[in-house]
């Protein structure tokens, strides 16, 4: 049994009449990268604010490293590293002034703890004198991460760290997280990008204040119960509308420039060749169809469509 870092039992939260979180149960193990994956409005930020002692849970209990987020908030605020959704930096302060300030409020010295952020901060150090407001999204993200790490937190909480950042910086960022992980820090991260889920050790798929499923990305995709076909063609929207009219097709969704369709688990379900034939018969031009392995996004959409998830 791995050691547990965070546990949530029946965590709920409402604002007035709107329910942000229904009743979440989850565990995050020590030293893992745990991802909360879900679209905007799924309740990720509310959950993270509860984890970081910023909000009181409306119901249920959350313990981080054995400390209760309500009672022991003072202790938790020492050992948490938190990066809010908007990079909370002081835009009128320079890169190094920001880092020095955040080290200062945690009572640590930048020079003593420099080794903790060397890997990340080193990349933006050439711009140490530049104002944080003048940095690119990727650089802001690195600075914010450095500021969250400078006091050697035990648990790192990152709320949508890759939103609004270019693709290259996103990949770099995940590489940084992987390197951080080797230091033994527990990382909780939220993201609306399904492709990032595969980078996590374990994920929870969230939708409308619910956790739909939890597990390793591999176990979630392996559990996908239907066949998936990937169709690439010049007129993706046409493919979409045509396949949706076919019988025994559970879903047809646009994935980038391709269409993913999943079929029902019956003998009458069309095969790849049959789908292709149908599309050609309907006057669609050249297209490639292949059987595909379900990704997290396929699973997510599938789970979303299960009626019991919309309580």
């Amino acid at each position: 049994m791995p050691e547990v870092s965070i546990t949530g039992e029946g965590v709920g939260k409402s604002y007035g009449t709107t329910t942000a979180l229904k009743s979440l149960d989850f565990t995050v193990n020590k030293g893992e990268v745990f991802g909360f994956i879900g679209p905007d409005g799924a309740g990720k930020t509310t959950l993270f604010r509860i984890l970081t002692t910023l909000l009181l849970p409306g119901s249920g209990k959350v313990r981080v490293e054995g400390y209760d987020v309500v009672k022991d908030y003072r202790i938790l605020r020492r050992i948490l590293g938190y990066m809010p959704g908007r990079f909370s930096l002081y835009h009128d302060l320079s890169v190094e002034e920001n880092l020095r300030f955040f080290a200062g409020i945690f009572g640590v010295d930048v020079r003593e703890n420099y080794h903790l952020v060397k890997d990340i901060y080193g990349q933006i150090e050439p711009f140490a004198k530049r104002k944080a407001g003048k940095l690119s999204g990727g650089m802001k993200q690195k600075l914010a991460l450095s500021c969250a790490l400078i006091h050697e937190p035990v648990v790192l909480v990152l709320d949508e760290p890759t939103t609004g950042v270019d693709a290259v910086s996103r990949r770099e960022f995940w590489e940084m997280l992987m390197r951080l992980k080797t230091g033994g820090i527990t990382i909780v991260v939220s993201t609306p990008y399904m492709d990032e889920a595969m980078r996590c050790d374990r994920v929870a798929l969230m939708q409308q204040g619910n956790i739909m499923t939890t597990g390793t990305p591999q176990s979630i995709t392996a559990a996908f119960p239907h066949k998936i076909y990937r169709i690439k063609g010049s007129a993706a929207l046409n493919i979409l509308s045509l396949t949706r009219k076919m019988k025994h097709i559970r879903s047809a969704e646009l994935f980038g420039d391709a269409v993913h369709i999943s079929t029902e688990n019956t003998d009458q379900a069309p095969t790849a060749a049959e789908i292709s034939q149908y599309l050609s018969a309907q006057g669609l031009g050249r297209h490639i169809i292949s059987e595909a392995v379900a990704g997290i996004e396929d699973c997510f959409i599938d789970l979303m469509k299960q009626p019991d998830r919309h309580v």
Partner: protein, 363 residues
């Protein structure tokens, strides 16, 4: 804490608007109130009706127009023109001498000088009439031959013998500026942290509310103090406003008032979640009462009883009293210890309230 204070100073020094409010405003306000906005009247246009000029009326006219208060001196053809000239708006007062002025005086009768003022601006009219009466009374006394009146009122304007408006305004400006700089700037700067989301990070840190508040406030204590001193220096050297009492006491009371204003600012920021609200609240809850109800412009004695009661709650009211007492009357602490105590108590209440109200969480 040290880092926090350094950070706050950097915020202030790098923001042009903050710097303008902090250092441009005192300069502009003092100069504006000192030179431009004044309730003294100089060079008011005055016309004269003098049907039969003689030695005495000429002498009186010379005295009036040499005083510096009045200019013009157009001779009107008769009383019927007065209305017309007032309507044109250039003449503010007409001096009417009755005919055979000198002869009547010699005969021992009392000739009459009538002062007709345009009272559509009542304060100005009153001032003009006062000035003129003063000059005419002076002339009476210089005549000597004039039978002495039974009762003579001998006015003497203590503490501000030449009735300079700037004596009145400097304490008011110091008060307004300290209020503005201290309360508005702190409340805005705390609200800005909330708006930018940096408050979230500050909260998820070991910083205690008191440290955040102190970190925010310290730079403004220093800067407001510098401000107060520079206003005092400016009013002393440019307008010659004296500080008759203890300078040390004046500065100490200023610091007390700065602390009060700052604690008010923090209190406002615990209610306001963004800069706009903070600004509006400071404006309406602090600035307007400071200007209107503190006795700075409108005398408290003339207010309806309700407003007088409300003005008791206005910190500036007490501070203006204290600062005037020190600067103009040279009074000591024994004279206004009560007011000082009231300010101290108010400061305590607001500091306690803001620490208690300071949210350690987001909701």
């Amino acid at each position: 804490m040290k880092r926090f204070i350094i950070k706050e100073f950097l915020h202030i020094f790098r923001d042009v608007r903050s710097m303008l409010i902090l250092f441009g405003m005192p300069l502009v306000q003092v100069l504006l109130f000192g030179f431009a906005i004044t309730n003294e009247i100089r060079d008011a246009r005055v016309a004269v009706v003098d049907a039969v000029p003689d030695v005495v009326t000429k002498d009186l006219r010379n005295k009036l127009f040499a005083s510096g208060y009045f200019t013009g001196g157009d001779i009107l053809a008769g009383q019927h023109e007065i209305d017309e000239r007032f309507r044109q708006g250039d003449v503010k007062m007409v001096v009417v001498f009755e005919p055979e002025f000198a002869q009547k005086l010699e005969r021992g009768e009392n000739p009459v000088v009538q002062l007709i003022a345009d009272a559509s601006d009542p304060n100005a009219a009153k001032l003009l009439v006062n000035y003129a009466t003063g000059i005419i009374n002076g002339y009476n006394r210089s005549l000597g031959t004039y039978p002495p009146q039974a009762v003579i009122a001998e006015p003497r304007m203590m503490y501000n013998p030449s009735l300079k408006g700037v004596y009145m305004f400097v304490p008011g400006i110091i008060t307004i500026l300290l209020m503005l700089v201290s309360a508005m700037m702190t409340s805005i700067s705390i609200a800005r942290e909330k708006e930018a989301g940096t408050m979230e990070v500050l909260l998820v840190s070991p910083l205690k509310p008191i440290s955040i508040i102190l970190g925010k406030v310290t730079p403004y204590v220093v800067l407001s103090f510098i401000n107060a001193v520079s206003i005092l220096l400016m009013s002393y050297y440019v307008f010659g406003v004296p500080v008759k009492g203890s300078l040390l006491l004046l500065l100490a009371e200023s610091i007390l008032f700065i602390l009060l204003a700052l604690s008010l600012g923090i209190f406002i920021s615990t209610v306001a979640n963004n800069q706009q609200t903070a600004m509006m609240l400071s404006m309406f809850a602090l600035m307007l009462p400071t200007i209107l109800l503190s006795g700075f412009i409108f005398p408290i004695e003339n207010m309806p009883a309700v407003l007088q009661w409300i003005s008791l709650l206005m910190p500036p009211r007490w501070f203006i009293f204290i600062i005037k007492s020190i600067m103009l009357k040279g009074a000591g602490l024994t004279y206004f210890w009560k007011e000082t105590l009231i300010l101290t108590a108010m400061t305590g209440v607001f500091i306690l309230a803001s620490i208690r109200k300071f949210k350690i969480r987001l909701d």
